[in-house]
Subunit: 163 residues, 3 copies
């Protein structure tokens, strides 16, 4: 084998490995939301997003880190933290193109109550990401509760076209 | 270092990276079941399986894509979709050998009810996979509900020998 | 490109790929606890730990494999297995340095009851790992139930500094 062929194989490995590392980095980013919001740390939650990020759910429409921080420090969220909560995403399906990526998947919020744990919310999510000098960040997260309605189903349907 | 040694190292990297990519592809395949069945899309659910696939559970024994599609469009499943459901697998343990693979792990179905979310089913699963020209597909999935009975325990015990 | 440059690129790939493989191996180790304890197999549960391992929770403080085996074969745990249980970790955040690693994440125990499934425990965890000749093993696991108290929040807060 000559050098050119070997160089091509190394370049192909570099590109494929970067894709795997990007996937794992995006899983880590998604999984960092729970420890931030379940400890009620608004700044840590906001750091996962870009400055122009949008966080849309059935509960609110937030634009930018300051709005996300304020939501975490708000009365409703702090009551949840006081009770004891666990925001746990399922393993989402991730699609990466260069410095942009998207993911679709489920999230759940478990809430502690005097009678044990309640599965408080089960949602469908669509995330969008951008690679920044500090690593991957969320640019948009859309979250709809699974209650038989069409919004959550439309979010989930999106992933079927990715295969 | 001479060229032969470097070529061997590159070949070893290619094989190891392919193994990692296979693992992630199988996770993605397993995680694609939820969005298909929770939107009630029988064709999308069936596409995850080979033409000779078997889907065995306490509820049914299905052979082939048409039977899987029919199950998804059946009355029982469509009632679940109407209520709002989330089929969420845990991160399974995967074992790959060439163009064949198997996995063992848990799955859960959360169901929306007028009183909130119910953990409707928690199951043990054994999946078998084959690499096809279109990527990995499921050739067999065996699913037993966790209720203290021996079937689910036998499925889970299988993975202890894989270490 | 000369050989030295290519050799450096191959060495960098080897290091990065090993890091990815280590991450997946640690996920697998964490995910092996469920099948061991949900089938009531005390030896299989103990094999995941080093000889000097500590397993600390709100329920007990165990040192070494024999204590872990005894806990699994104890009356309380065997009653859980008899009912039907599923110990399911969420995808944790893992940090690796050489032959040592740590992870922080959530775990849940689902328990079968005559009325269906109960989310019996939702916990925060801090794991420590060591690479051994037989692969990665747990050297310490600290587990605190999420109930609004400070212990679980302190465990989760630790991960926010890892970014």
């Amino acid at each position: 084998m000559d050098d050119t062929q070997l160089t091509d194989r190394v370049a192909a490995l570099e590109e494929r490995l970067r894709h795997v590392e990007d996937q794992l980095a995006i899983h880590r980013l998604i999984n960092s939301w729970g420890p931030a919001v379940d400890t009620g740390n608004g700044e840590a939650a906001a750091e996962l997003f870009t400055d122009d990020a949008i966080l849309e759910s059935d509960l609110s429409y937030l634009v930018g880190p300051a709005a996300i921080t304020a939501m975490v420090y708000g009365e409703g969220h702090q009551a949840l933290v006081h009770d004891g909560s666990a925001h746990i995403p399922a393993f989402p399906i991730v699609s990466i193109e260069g410095d942009f990526a998207k993911a679709i998947g489920y999230t759940r919020v478990y809430r502690h109550t005097p009678d044990g744990y309640e599965v408080w919310r089960v949602s469908a999510n669509h995330w969008e990401f951008r690679r920044t000098p500090d690593g991957w960040r969320v640019t948009k997260r859309t979250n709809h509760v699974i209650d038989g309605g069409s919004e959550a189903k439309e979010l989930l349907t999106g992933v079927l076209a990715w295969r």
